[in-house]
Symmetry: C2
Subunit: 139 residues, 2 copies
DNA sequence: TATGATTAGGTAGATCCTAACTAACAGGTA
DNA sequence: TACCTGTTAGTTAGGATCTACCTAATCATA
């Protein structure tokens, strides 16, 4: 089984490298190769909580409101988010992600889709079915 | 094929999540859940260039020597590296990784090994062989 | 003297904070 | 209706801390 483990390691190492390439590709396409992991985390929270306000985001992330203002200012600057004043209450501002912001918030899934696109080009339908069948036993 | 792609996405999403768990597990075990990606990059360089000196590391990473001194000081503090004075030349100090430092420098591979360990427990030998055969066509 | 590393001192940017402020709303009162 | 008041949402000002870099000067060894 040890040799089998090694072979598995090899093919998965290659696969993970491909996904890494896809991630980097996405960051480059967005012109954001120096974004911090903290910023990506915030983008994810904003993406998950649609229509989130500054106060709510401060609550969720356990930060002060000025911290959120600052963070969103930076997102606006790098074109990942924009402000949208609420039509119901002039005091309230919703934080919305741009297409770029959404792309980065979901960079893992997007990279995975790209990786799988590459995979299916190399495999026929039976192989894909077999792959799914085997891997379902793992998860 | 669209449904097949979705199924592939599902199983791989789960697989990547497992690897993520393994990575976090390793960082936690090392007591280093707040290490920066920059620091990990430096650990990788130190790991790849065995017996590297301060001057050499400054050269490789295109940084000043004080930057390296500071970085290594931090690694020593978090028990990822230690200094070893050269027996041949009293001026020279080699940067060496501790076991913990090596674990973090290779966290991706180590997490992958853990993931594969989990996989082989769920699969028989034929399934592993089949998996390798199919995935080799991708890389 | 030249080299390898360290020390001292400093800058820039990210990520946090409190206190004070502005704008907008909501309710009561004249 | 018009005005006053208190509350709420977000911003501004100013500051602290940390990472990650730097130059210039220093120390130890060759």
């Amino acid at each position: 089984m040890a040799a089998r483990v090694d072979r598995l390691f090899e093919v998965f190492d290659r696969l993970f490298a491909i996904k890494e390439e896809c991630s980097s590709e996405i960051f480059c396409e967005c012109g954001l190769d120096d974004i911090t992991s903290r910023q990506i985390d915030y983008l994810k929270v904003i993406d998950e909580h649609r229509d989130v306000t500054f106060s709510r985001l401060a609550e969720i992330t356990k930060n002060s409101k000025p911290t959120i203002t600052e963070m969103v200012d930076r997102f606006v600057q790098i074109e990942c988010a924009y402000r949208q004043r609420s039509p119901d209450d002039g005091r309230v501002v919703h934080i919305r992600l741009t297409e770029k912001g959404q792309m980065i918030a979901n960079v893992e899934q997007n990279a995975l889709y790209r990786m799988i696109d590459r995979m299916v080009q190399m495999l026929d339908e039976d192989e894909v079915d077999l792959l799914v069948e085997i891997l379902r036993k793992v998860g």
